[in-house]
């Protein structure tokens, strides 16, 4: 339930707001719904990652030219061991790391802050 709420409300907010809007959304929803900081972190991180990777996959699949490939090459320069990793894997890993950290800490802080004021 919490997962779905973050996914849906966070998705709508992200579509119109700045990229980090998912953080306050996850924070508020976890304040309200999550039981433990751990649950807040995990559910929120999972929802944020699903949202980002899901939307990114959609954009990449419907694009004429894969910007994922181009941006991956920008970071690897087309040489070295990083360039051997599939480009989409590299870019989606970075996205997952960012989404996990932002979403996770946001959800966790929702629960922790609720406990402070309780």
């Amino acid at each position: 339930m919490l997962y779905l709420l973050i996914l849906i409300i966070g998705g709508i907010a992200s579509y119109f707001g700045p990229w980090w809007i998912i953080a306050p959304v996850a924070l508020a929803l976890c304040w309200w719904k999550a039981k433990t900081p751990k649950e807040g972190y995990l559910v929120s991180a999972a929802a944020t990652v699903s949202l980002w990777i899901g939307y990114a996959t959609f954009l990449n699949a419907t694009a004429d030219v894969s910007l994922v490939d181009k941006v991956a090459e920008m970071f690897t320069g087309g040489v070295g061991f990083l360039s051997k990793i599939p480009k989409i894997g590299l870019v989606f890993t970075v996205m997952t790391l960012i989404a996990t950290a932002i979403g996770g800490f946001a959800g966790m802080s929702g629960v922790q802050m609720r406990r402070y004021f309780k």
Partner: protein, 815 residues
């Protein structure tokens, strides 16, 4: 304590968002960039981004229709000129705003603001050249020029109208990566963009390198090795064309250069770039199948993505023109209309001179001029780094121009009176309006209109080629050309002598020109504008004659020409230089018993002198001729000591006619005197060794010319992954198909004039869109590499129907 326990994760989150929202050093703002909701993925495109569109914009007076064709070329139909240039600015910005702004940051020396400290030296150099200050002055002057200011203002409003409605999601991806935003456009920025072209095409000088040669070997050697006209040449104005004017007198002073220097003068001014040239030609009706002229032009520039050119059609009741425009500039620069076609190549005359300046004190407050201490002008330049740090630099101006970056010791005259070198440069000339030549050419109907248009142009001087459907063809090396005594500015001049100032200008009507010459065609390839009978001195060194010789040979032989025959010259890979020198070099190779060079030698003997993509002979020749040149000259004229090597023309003459010249000896080998055979064989072997080292043993695949040359089109901001490399094509330096490793034909155009409606063909190595996420970013590259041309869609009016028209953007005035 309890606070920390409950708030640490919140603080971590806020900290992370902050860090990921902003660029850190070289790292882009990662969170923002990778978020699929705002970041680079929002720059993805597909069919849905290319639909009809209706816009209500403040600033247009009446409805404007922008019809896009299959190549995403906009065809703009407006009801008045203001709306036309407004729409031009708007659509150009929509496709190319990042590129437009980037050029202005380069010319203004402000790259540090977007890429940080690593651009500081480059910025410092560009500021010392003084381009921004000159651009500001020109922009100010143009305010009082009614037509220039009208089109500049309309264009500016159009660009700004686009910038105003752009949100972060739609920002070009380069802005997202570098973490900044576009700022308002202005006429000043347009002039800055033109400054870039002036710098690219005229911003080089060998004065220092020549002065160093004189100091080392004396004037007699210079006269012998650095003559003022090559042994082989095919000048732009055909030999024998009469000069129907009385030239202005020019006096040569008794002292023709600054005094000898204690040390080699080392100033980091680049040599004029030989690859940055161009071809253009036009055949008259007598040589064409239709009986009317055909014109062709291919400007050779550094190859970049986004491309330096943007194709478009501009149409309103007073003009209907098709061609390519420069991103950031109103009007069409190279193109055609119903009646005429025109094109440009660089003249390359000597328009950047250096003056040795004697200052009276270390603060450089005064300098010696005409036996008087004359005050300098000082400007403080501020460089804002990306980090916010400010770096300052002081720029000193004399009446000649700015004192450029000078690495030599400050004690060239004596300890207390430092020396410097001031630069007189055509690019800093603030009179005239270069935009006006294009304004008038866009509207020209005949030869007289062409001649009138030419008078408005300042720099960089171009060979303006012309053809009309009244069966006229013409070419004019045109621009402001300084009036100089012979060899003025071949060496560093004396900044204290008024006689060393530029003497004035060659009167515009006395610039070399020819109309309908008996040979039936006109052409240029950056070679000498005219033979030595032309009464004025334009410079001692122009591009090597190879391309010109080949073009003129082919055009002389051509009959019943059509667009395709001209296209075949654009793709001509014949190596004229190899034809000239190999008959002398190959017999020397035969004298060697060394079996290791035999396979390569056999290839050279069988080579058909074509720099075709699969030619191994071309690979060996191109690398060898460079090596050979170094083996001959580098010992006596070391590049590290800022000495110039003699030209290829002079080198070839020496190889062919002076085989015992002392210059063949390598003076670095103490106990041996090398002969021409030692040098030719040694350099050949060294070439093969180097090719083997870099490409592996000789096979037809690994040593194929296209493979070794590896033509690449880099991204303008050098972002890896946004470039194209490994383009398989032939050509090369000095070849008509002038595609080198990183430079080449940046636009190819062939126009068949017609009484009714002209037929245009063309393309450039890039695409209309500046968005790397669009398939129109580089869609013309493969066709370009294959030497093909697109049929251009030049519409008669906005109601014309064509299967090649795909969508319409309708702009209406905002109510």
């Amino acid at each position: 304590m309890r606070f920390i326990k409950h708030f640490w994760s919140y603080l971590v989150m806020v900290g992370l968002i902050y860090l990921l929202h902003n660029p850190i050093g070289m790292l882009p703002p990662l969170g923002r960039l990778f978020s699929p909701f705002e970041g680079f993925l929002q720059n993805s495109t597909n069919k849905s981004t290319l639909l009809d569109q209706n816009l209500d914009l403040e600033g247009v007076k009446e409805e404007v229709k922008v019809i896009y064709d299959v190549n995403q070329v906009p065809h703009i139909f407006a009801n008045n000129e203001d709306d036309l240039y407004f729409a031009q600015g708007y659509v150009m910005a929509k496709d190319r705003i990042w590129q437009m702004e980037f050029y202005t940051m380069v010319a203004a020396g402000r790259l540090t603001e977007i890429v940080g400290e690593r651009a500081l030296e480059y910025d410092r150099y560009n500021r010392r050249l003084g381009m921004a200050r000159a651009a500001a002055k020109i922009a100010e002057n143009l305010k009082s020029d009614p037509i220039s200011s009208k089109i500049l203002d309309a264009y500016t409003n159009g660009v700004n109208s686009y910038i105003a409605q752009i949100d972060y999601k739609n920002l070009p991806v380069e802005y997202k990566i570098l973490g900044y935003k576009p700022t308002a456009w202005s006429p000043y920025k347009t002039i800055l963009m033109l400054m870039n072209m002036r710098n690219t095409l005229n911003g080089g000088s060998d004065d220092f390198r020549m002065s160093n040669v004189v100091d080392e070997y004396g004037l007699d050697t210079v006269k012998d090795l650095f003559p003022n006209y090559p042994a082989e040449e095919s000048p732009i104005i055909p030999v024998g064309t009469p000069w129907n004017f009385k030239p202005l007198p020019v006096t040569t002073p008794s002292k023709v250069m600054a005094g000898k220097n204690d040390d080699k003068v080392i100033v980091k001014i680049p040599s004029p770039a030989p690859e940055i040239g161009s071809n253009n030609w036009a055949v008259g009706g007598a040589k064409s199948a239709t009986g009317l002229p055909i014109l062709s032009n291919d400007p050779h520039l550094g190859l970049t993505l986004p491309s330096i050119w943007y194709q478009m059609q501009l149409s309103c009741p007073t003009v209907n023109v098709y061609g390519v425009a420069l991103p950031g500039c109103p009007g069409i620069v190279i193109g055609y209309n119903k009646d005429i076609a025109w094109g440009v190549t660089n003249v390359g005359s000597d328009v950047m001179d250096f003056y040795k300046i004697r200052f009276n004190n270390p603060e450089k407050t005064h300098y010696m001029y005409n036996n008087k201490w004359t005050p300098t002008t000082k400007y403080t330049e501020e460089f804002r780094l990306k980090s916010g740090k400010i770096v300052k630099d002081t720029l000193i101006y004399t009446h000649h121009g700015p004192v450029v970056y000078n690495e030599s010791k400050e004690s060239n005259f004596n300890k207390n009176a430092p020396a410097g070198h001031a630069m007189r440069w055509i690019a800093l000339e603030t009179s005239g309006s270069d935009l006006m030549i294009f304004y008038y050419l866009n509207r020209a109907k005949n030869y007289d209109d062409y001649r009138k248009a030419l008078t408005f142009y300042t720099a960089p001087a171009q060979n303006f080629i012309f053809a009309s459907n009244q069966n006229d063809i013409a070419i004019t090396p045109n621009g402001k050309l300084p009036l100089k005594w012979k060899e003025q500015g071949k060496f560093i001049l004396d900044g204290s002598m008024p006689e060393h100032d530029w003497q004035g200008w060659i009167p515009a009507e006395q610039n070399p020109t020819v109309k309908n010459p008996p040979r039936g065609f006109v052409s240029s390839a950056n070679q000498f504008s005219a033979d030595p009978t032309y009464p004025y001195y334009l410079g001692w060194k122009f591009a090597a004659p190879n391309r010109a010789v080949r073009i003129n040979e082919r055009l002389t032989a051509m009959k019943n020409a059509n667009a395709d025959s001209l296209r075949s010259i654009l793709n001509d890979n014949y190596n004229v230089a190899a034809r000239r020198i190999l008959p002398t070099l190959l017999p020397i190779l035969e004298t060697s018993k060394d079996a290791s060079i035999a396979p390569a030698r056999e290839i050279m003997k069988k080579w058909d002198l074509m720099n075709n993509p699969d030619a191994v002979g071309a690979t060996i020749y191109e690398r060898w001729v460079k090596e050979l040149e170094n083996w001959i000259w580098e010992d006596e004229f070391p590049s590290k000591q800022f000495m110039l090597h003699p030209t290829e023309d002079r080198t070839f003459e020496m190889i062919k006619k002076q085989s015992t010249a002392k210059w063949f000896d390598n003076k670095n080998t103490k106990d041996k005197v090398e002969t021409i055979n030692d040098i030719v064989l040694g350099s050949f072997k060294a070439t093969l060794d180097s090719l083997t080292l870099h490409n592996g043993p000789l096979t037809p695949e690994t040593w194929a010319w296209a493979k070794v040359k590896n033509t690449s089109i880099s991204h303008l901001g050098k972002i890896p992954g946004f470039a194209r490399s490994g383009i398989m094509n032939g050509g090369g330096r000095g070849i008509v198909n002038a595609t080198t490793e990183s430079t080449g034909p940046s636009w190819r155009m062939v126009i068949e004039l017609d009484k009714d409606w002209p037929r245009g063909y063309g393309l450039y190595p890039g695409g209309q869109s500046g968005n790397v996420g669009s398939k129109y970013y580089d869609n013309m590259v493969d066709k370009w590499a294959a030497g093909k041309l697109d049929t251009l869609v030049f519409m008669k009016n906005k109601d014309e129907k064509s299967a090649k028209l795909t969508r319409t953007m309708t702009i209406k005035p905002k109510k």
